[in-house]
Amino acid sequence: MAETPDDISDDVLVARAARGDAAAWRALADRHLSAVVSFSWYRLGDRIEAEDVAQETMLRFSRKAPNWEPDGPKVRTWLYRVAGNLCIDRQRARRPESPIEDVEETAVVDIQPHLDGNLDARRVVHKALTDLPHRQQVMLILVYYLGHTVRDAADMLDISEHAAESLLARARRAMRAALEPNREDLLGARS
């Protein structure tokens, strides 16, 4: 039976890509690029920036491939970490006066007082998301949007599962607090 890329582990594909197997590299890109774009987009709220981050992340991955260690982090985890750091750089560039570490637990969401349809509703939700403290934001994105288990997300953030659950609960609470002033508009936009 013929071997398909889906049957091959990431580590094997990376080894092949490092030897110049273009098909292996394309399989890796097909497998991970969309997730990296999504992750970056949720973090930044801007498609162009998200694609820039994804491109840079994949470029670094291609350079890393020859020295890839199969016993190290999973490919997806490595990609999220690199993309996450690039997102932080961009967020810091946007808000140089408020370093990421300083805004932990003190996110302030500046929500538009009046909403106008679904587009603005999405903007409000996205702004609330991007204004979350860094780790809460990542946890919510990984678990809620990208479908990872809390345990996987905990591994990615190098924290305990209990801490990850707590982080997720705080993220949801912060989102509710941020969206509360616009509840009627948000619900109205959905109907």
């Binding site: 590299w25 998200a50 694609e51 994804a54 949801r172 509710r176 969206l179 509360e180 509840r183």
Partner: protein, 115 residues
């Protein structure tokens, strides 16, 4: 103890979160990323072997050239053809006595002994 008093339910929050739909990677991005495939190349170990082989080859070539060098040098350093009437200094005996090269009779331009 701090209590939450939000009117947004979990269901409302999920609905709000679900309103965000991420973009799919553009064709341009896919092409760029696809072009990042590494060119086939040897492993670092193979590079070391290749470098060692090249070094051995270079040393061998240098040895061969050195062996061939004397003949080339003799050709290069061969005395030019004597012009008529010229007598080269190296043809003249330097000293007499033990170890001196065999004395050669020096002839004049006319072929007659000079002495």
């Amino acid at each position: 103890m701090k209590t939450d008093s939000f009117s947004i339910s979990d269901t409302d929050l999920d609905a709000a979160l679900d309103s965000l739909e991420p973009p799919t990677p553009s064709d341009t991005l896919r092409r760029r990323v696809g072009a990042m495939a590494l060119a086939p190349k040897s492993s670092p170990a193979a590079w070391r072997y290749a470098a060692a082989a090249a070094l051995v080859f270079a040393v061998g070539v240098a040895g061969l050239l050195r062996l061939e060098a004397p003949s080339e040098t003799s050709i290069a350093e061969a005395p030019p053809t004597a012009a008529v009437g010229e007598i080269f200094a190296q043809e003249l005996p330097l000293v007499d006595g033990f170890g001196a090269p065999e004395r050669r009779e020096t002839l004049s331009v006319a072929g007659l002994p000079l002495e």
